[in-house]
Amino acid sequence: MEKSDLVIRVAGEGGEGIISTGDFISAACARAGLEIYTFKTFPAEIKGGYAMYQVRISANHIHNQGDTFDVFCAFNGEAYELNRHLLTPGTAFVYDGPGGDFEPDLPDGVSAYPIPMSATAKKLGEKRAKNMVALGALSHLFNINEETLIRVLSDKFGKKGEKVLAKNLEAFELGKGFAQALEKKDSWRVADAKEPKDVIIISGNEAVGLGAILGRLDFFSAYPITPATEVAKYVSEHIPKLGGTLIQAEDEIASISQVVGASYAGKRSMTATSGPGLALMSEMIGMSFMSETPALIVDVQRGGPSTGLPTKHEQSDLFLAIHGAHGDAPRIVLSVENVKDCVEMTAEALNLAEKYQTPVILLSDGSLAFSTQTIPTPKADQFEIIQRKRWDGDGEYRRYALTEDLISPMADPGTPGAMHIATGLEHGETGAPRYTPENHETMHRKRIHKIQPLVDEYRPAERDGVEGQATVGIIAWGSTIGVVREAIERLTAAGQKVKALYPKLLWPMPVAQYEAFAAECDQILVPEVNFQGQLSHFLRAETSLKPIPYTICGGLPFTPAMIVAKVEEISK
């Protein structure tokens, strides 16, 4: 790795401005034409507690949060203690001192830069300026573009008045001064500013919201849950601008019910939740399936089961997403890799729900929820809006007409001549109850087979790595894909014959693609952040693949180094 691909971690007590420090660095670097990929952990408790913000910065494209950090900035002793074991020879270490609450006993080879953050803030009479002191120091030490940083600060604090801005800039300058007085002992530096790119910087949850808006969402029903709530927050701010509606429901069952009701009324409708909410929605998702009413459910997965690890990352809702309803009720299940996907695939998922008249579950996860990333600025008109098939007024209307593509025209209430019933009972073509064996088989086939063409219509799962036969083929889903991309880069650079497949359509399964991929691999490795190896299960069940599951479930994502090591282990 070139030194200009830099990872900076800032940590301290929640409320000390850890998050805003990271956000300032990110924004400044983005303005300087660099890419950023951030990763955060929040305190499990409401106030105080340990908070961490890590930002990876590069002049090149970044796929994940990195293996570890190069620069560590500790605001307090707790942050130091929790990260001490991660400091290795070469790490640059910036900390609050003298005058901080701890004195580090550093491992050999760590370059330390004491900056009197608390003391300076105290002197300035503004405790909250502590992070500005740190920021000034970091900017100088690691070449964070000062000009863009000052502009970011001015934009942010300018709104709060001249005095606030001046105070913060003063702290910044003091921090910078302390750093200037120190000798630079390491070679870490952020890449130099480039031509600014046309990017936005946005978190995974906001990106889902943005995707929904660009996908011309009409109706959103929310019930708060970590780590999904910010989707609703984003949508609530913008959906009225489109004339749409966001309602906070009394619970997740009401949310999905309202979505189904609004969709019946002809509107593009969705909700977003996490595992516990998805579990509660199971019955109504079955109703959406049976009554063929479009519905989009975004599940931002968290550490499970049950209340589990509500603020931590996991990819463990795949079983529930694919199998979570009584009876046979398969649905479309997609998963996003990164923030860019959050925008694009949410818009796309709305289209798929409308097109196939069925529930669609889009899986995101805890590591993307709060990860902010630079992505090319989406163009509002780049998103095709697919409308549901609507009745053309010809002949007699039958809601569940058996058509060639198995998709029946819908009719919004208010369409003369098309009054009908949508129902969760088994029914014939008109919607009237019908319990004969033949009808049940026919209608089952209609509902289940109608989504099959998606396997071919959907863009093929992306492939990565070497051409031709590989010793190891990796299949990854969700945010693990970004980690695998970098592992593949490193492995192929090292001459290893490895390749990877990145499915985003998880159900119905693109079996032929899996088979073709596997045919070119001696072994198949499937890394995922859950205990049972959930995608491995589906691969074993629905393809001829014999995947080697590689599972971790400690609340953290994989790192590229872990994947590299695993590949090396199994290809020995």
Binding site: I200, L210, H238, K241, E250, A254, A262, A380, P413, M419
Partner: protein, 295 residues
């Protein structure tokens, strides 16, 4: 005007023309027939355009009602009709939205949704067909069953106090509350008509005998107990209604008639206000929203 009243007096249809092609499947003597007759009549009198009406229901004998009515309709899940209807109404405030369902559907499994329909003042009409029993599942106690009732899973008699649907809905802030007996389809019709005309959440509780499974709350029993709401009840004050209902209940009787009606902004009106506030419209330049996330 973007509300459902625009679809009133749009059609001239006799009550029986609101019948759908599906024949009711209820037992002979079931009170639900009376409610249905009342609905037909109310729709006819209002001249309600069935193309702009959505009937929704949950699961139960009573929840079969939409099948028998000319309109758009949705037969949803046990207890969820009110929540589904909320979505429909907010999505299309120009529709007349009607929910029919049972005492079990509404106040047992669906009980968590009821307060919010009322306090959010969702502009719909909720008709509860209260037979004080689970009919479709063949006779278990419901939350409105009287304590003395022996039933399927209470072979030694009930153990719980019943609840009073209208008292609940008054507490929840429903802006229109009426109560009737299915044996009097005329009163049913008039209350349902009033409910449909009402802007806001309207609730009509209708005592509806289940001769098959509820052997104690018979038509005769109900008939003997109903007493009309006095003319001088202060209709716009929900506490008067509550006091009146409690007083009649204490006498072992049942108050029927319109109990309460008041006006409050509906949720769809609040939403329209929001849209207006932010200058929302279908042509809004989405790029402006994207640009807010520039670094």
């Amino acid at each position: 005007m973007n509300d459902m009243t625009q679809h009133f007096h749009q059609v001239e249809m006799k009550p029986k023309e609101f019948k759908s092609e599906v024949e009711p499947v209820w037992c002979p003597g079931c009170g639900h027939y009376g409610v249905l007759a009342g609905m037909y009549r109310a729709m006819s009198e209002l001249g309600l355009d069935p193309n702009y009406t959505v009937n929704l229901s949950g699961i139960g004998c009573s929840s079969r009602t939409p099948y028998f009515v000319q309109s758009y309709k949705m037969h949803t899940l046990h207890g969820r009709a009110g929540a589904v209807a909320t979505g429909t109404q907010l999505a299309r405030p120009d529709l007349a939205v009607i929910v029919t369902g049972g005492d079990g559907d509404g106040f047992s499994i669906g009980g968590g949704h009821m307060p919010h329909l009322a306090r959010k003042n969702i502009n719909m009409t909720y008709i509860l067909m209260d037979n004080r029993i689970y009919g479709l599942t063949k006779g278990q106690v419901s939350p409105t069953s009287r304590k003395e009732m022996k039933a399927y899973t209470t072979p030694y008699g009930g153990v719980e106090e019943p609840l009073d649907p209208v008292l609940y809905m008054l507490t929840y802030g429903a802006t229109y509350v009426g109560q009737a007996f299915a044996g009097n389809p005329k009163m049913c019709a008039s209350l349902i008509k009033g409910a449909l005309e009402h802007q806001g959440f309207s609730f009509v509780n209708i005592f509806s005998q289940c001769p098959t499974f509820n052997k104690i709350d018979t038509a005769k029993y109900f008939k003997g107990l109903v007493v009309d709401v006095p003319d001088d009840l202060e209709l716009d004050d929900s506490s008067s209604a509550m006091a009146h209902v409690q007083q009649v209940n204490r006498q072992g009787k049942l108050a029927v008639g319109l109990l309460h009606q008041s006006q409050r902004t509906t949720l769809d009106q609040e939403m329209a206000r929001l849209v207006k506030k932010v200058g929302g419209n279908a042509e809004y330049d989405l790029q402006k929203i994207v640009d807010l996330s520039r670094p």
